[in-house]
């Protein structure tokens, strides 16, 4: 059921008990976890933090802890699957779920006792009403006989009963199918938990900053639409002004060590203040795709662009902090003006930045890139648990060296993505398989280890699709979705497969691939693992009927998000063939 008063129904219940916090491995979840941890420290609540990377992890963690805990708080996992059926908990276990994955499973919505969802109900959910989906048999019989107002004799009554049952059966399945076919994301979990902190009046600037990072993560990894991002930014902007106003009340200004958050209308160049401007332009997907920097022609255009702005090459190639003040002064406006001439209308984006101490200035997207790089770092001797803790640490203000380390890793990651995209486009590695585009990264590709992780592979995939759309002349190919496969674990011979929807101006960020992957896997009996939370692992048999029935809708381009599965290498080809047949 949905929680209406988050303070009374969640926090007051949890504050007197020992809690198990199960947190998914993504930045938004990390930020929500940080805010919740700070609240727990204030009230001295005992909790255990368990990072989970997928459904298997969640199941194992639950089994380990179900003896000791009654209260489980799940962050960014668990809403889109029938939780009680998957985990089989005791009668007195309570689950508090704060998840951005939609659609929320109907069983979770209509369970009154054990599953509590910390999701705002006006969040564009579209949950089918209870009566439409659940109906008791007696009620059915009663309804049907009630509908028999034309007064039937027994035989005709029975016939109508059968037809009505069949229709309601279809109707219900159709509603469910419509509801569950597209996956998308809702409001950031960090923002929901920040609101809890605000209601308790325990919100600090640190928590506000974490909420901002959670929202920016959703933008950087393309999980929400631009409209939703702008709306959420406005909400956070109100909080930021409230905090800033509180400080500027006194005529004595604050110590320089205090944290200051400011609203910025800043450039869409990744990490540009911690890198050189030139490198940042080369490695940000927006600018790189617009200039087509994998070709010589693109490089020349970039030089023209810089010359047009009057920025000397020597200045642009050195570290941003060492650039001349005269050059840095109106940099944003100058770049915006020139970008408009080159067809980049949205080079600037609304975001927030933070200042503390004399030399520490970070934009929200910088922190997102750094934390993502730490979370998915592929150095040796780094277990997923260690990476989780390191990424969590780098979000605190006192661990600046870790944050800088993360920024360095992020730079390497962005450069690797750029090079892979350039090589894929130049060597025509993207093939059109009919209903979709397909790309397979061979094992020998440089930096391919980086792409065995879902977030890095997602960034690569989106960048690749944008670049492909710009570089191809085939009009039909521009409207196709992209599926990318990369080797995941060389010893176990598994491959990670990811699908993203086609490039479109008005995408509403809803995804279909989860279902398609499942069906293809089943039909070829490939050994697959739908472990990642972004793919629903419901195996509803009736859905097969509807996939074929709704074939027309499958080619309807209302997709957005992405879906990920793991696959055994040998099964790759037959899985793809099945997918082609399914979608054509």
């Amino acid at each position: 059921m949905f929680i209406t008063d988050i303070r009374k129904e969640f926090y007051d219940v949890v504050v007197n008990q020992r809690v198990a916090l199960l947190v998914s491995s993504e930045i938004d979840a990390l930020c929500a976890c940080k805010i919740l941890q700070a609240l727990f420290h204030c009230d001295q609540v005992q909790y255990t933090l368990v990072p989970v990377t997928g459904w298997q992890d969640l199941g194992t963690a639950f089994l380990e802890h179900k003896e000791q805990f009654r209260c489980f708080v799940l962050i960014n996992c668990g809403a889109n699957v029938d939780l009680l059926e998957t985990l089989q908990p005791e009668e007195d276990s309570i689950f508090f779920i704060c998840d951005t994955h939609r659609p929320v499973d109907v069983v979770n919505v209509y369970n009154d006792t054990q599953v509590k969802l910390m999701i705002k109900q006006d969040d564009d959910l579209g949950v089918p009403s209870y009566d439409d989906i659940f109906r008791d048999e007696e009620e059915e019989g009663g309804n049907d006989s009630g509908n028999e107002s034309d007064g039937g004799s027994e035989p005709s009554g029975k016939r109508s009963l059968i037809t009505l049952t069949f229709e309601t059966f279809h109707f219900r399945r159709e509603i469910l199918f419509d509801y569950e076919q597209y996956e998308y994301h809702g409001t950031s979990a960090a923002m929901v938990i920040f609101e809890l902190a605000w209601v308790l009046t325990k919100d600090t600037k640190d928590m506000l900053w974490w909420a901002i990072i959670g929202l920016t993560d959703q933008l950087v990894h393309d999980k929400i639409t631009h409209m939703k991002y702008v709306t959420d930014i406005a909400t956070l902007q109100r909080h930021v002004s409230r905090h800033n106003h509180r400080n500027e009340d006194e005529d004595n200004s604050l110590s320089i060590d205090c944290m200051r958050i400011s609203f910025e209308y800043d450039l869409r160049l990744a990490l540009y203040q911690h890198w050189s401007l030139f490198e940042s332009i080369c490695n940000s997907s927006y600018t790189s795709c617009n200039f087509k920097l994998w070709s010589m022609h693109g490089q020349k255009k970039l030089q023209e662009f810089l010359a047009d702005m009057g920025l000397p090459l020597k200045q642009v190639k050195q570290k941003f902090n060492s650039m001349d003040m005269s050059v840095k002064e109106n940099l944003r406006e100058v770049i915006e003006e020139s970008s408009n001439k080159y067809g980049m209308k949205d080079i600037r984006i609304q975001t927030f930045g933070v200042h503390f101490g004399f030399k520490n200035h970070f934009l929200a997207s910088d922190v997102v890139h750094a934390t993502a790089a730490l979370l998915e770092s592929t150095e040796k001797d780094d277990s997923p648990g260690d990476n989780f803790i390191k990424a969590l640490d780098c979000l605190s203000r006192s661990n600046l060296e870790r944050l800088h380390g993360g920024i360095d890793l992020a730079k390497k990651k962005l450069m690797a993505i750029q090079q892979t995209v350039a090589s894929c486009i130049c060597t025509n590695l993207i093939l059109s398989q009919g209903p979709f585009l397909y790309c397979y990264l061979l094992e020998g590709t440089p930096d391919v280890k980086l792409f065995s992780k879902p977030m890095a592979l997602t960034l690569l995939c989106k960048y690749l699709l944008k670049a492909f759309v710009r570089s191809t002349r085939n009009k039909r190919c521009k409207l196709l979705p992209l599926i990318i496969a990369a080797p995941m674990d060389v010893e176990k011979r598994t491959v990670i497969v990811l699908g993203i929807p086609p490039e479109s101006e008005t995408s509403d960020k809803k995804n279909f691939f989860g279902r398609a992957f499942e069906k293809a896997a089943e039909s070829t009996s490939s050994r697959t693992l739908h472990d990642h939370f972004d793919t629903s692992s419901k195996s509803n048999v009736i859905v097969i009927v509807y996939i074929f029935h709704k074939r027309a809708d499958m080619t309807h381009y209302r997709w957005a998000l992405f879906s990920i599965i793991e696959l055994k290498m040998e099964d790759r080809t037959k899985f793809l063939d099945a997918l082609i047949t399914l979608l054509s």
Partner: protein, 185 residues
């Protein structure tokens, strides 16, 4: 003595806070505290004030002496006099560090206060070093210094005592008498 021990002793000092919760009087071994009512100032030891501040349950009111003008006067006085002037609080250095690290948003002009306190500390330590130097070079037997705080004494204590011990041993060896040589060896 370790500087952290001195800081521990400093945490017993009393400071005023404004809580945002309510609690009846609590009876601790060191004394009674409270009752706590939201919005009403109450005196508590620094250790409790810092704990409550970190849990966002109170606002700390800076002590009276932690004010830019007063500290400037003290600093000027300290620079003029040759001897040690009376200090604003016997634990001024520790309290400044603790309060400015944890509650700098409740203390106006925190940066200037930090600089001023550091200046006062530097002047006093310089005077202490000068005094110790003259004590040793003039081979005095006894010295008296007023208005020193525990932290300042603690900075020189181990070094000064070891030095004096060494000097005693060396001096006692200058006496002609072989039985003392074996002591040193």
């Amino acid at each position: 003595m370790d500087p952290s021990e001195v800081e521990f002793l400093a945490e017993k000092e009393v400071v005023k806070i404004i809580p945002n919760f309510s609690l009846d009087k609590i009876y601790l071994i060191g004394g009674d505290l409270g009752p706590f009512n939201p919005g009403l100032p109450v005196d508590v030891p620094v250790w409790l004030a810092l704990n409550l501040k970190q849990r966002q349950k109170c606002r700390i009111v800076p002590p009276e002496w932690m004010d830019v003008e007063k500290l400037e006067e003290i600093r000027e006085l300290e620079r003029k006099e040759d001897t040690f002037t009376p200090v604003p609080s016997p634990y001024y250095m520790e309290l400044t560090k603790l309060l400015l690290n944890h509650a700098s948003d409740n203390i106006p002009k925190a940066d200037e206060i930090r600089t001023l306190v550091k200046d006062i500390w530097d002047t006093r330590i310089a005077k202490l070093r000068l005094s110790a130097d003259s004590f040793i070079s003039q081979q005095e037997a006894h010295a008296k210094l007023d208005n020193l705080t525990l932290m300042e004494i603690n900075t020189t204590r181990s070094f000064l005592l070891d030095t004096l011990n060494c000097m005693y041993k060396l001096r006692s060896n200058l006496q002609p008498g072989s039985k003392y040589i074996s002591d040193v060896v």
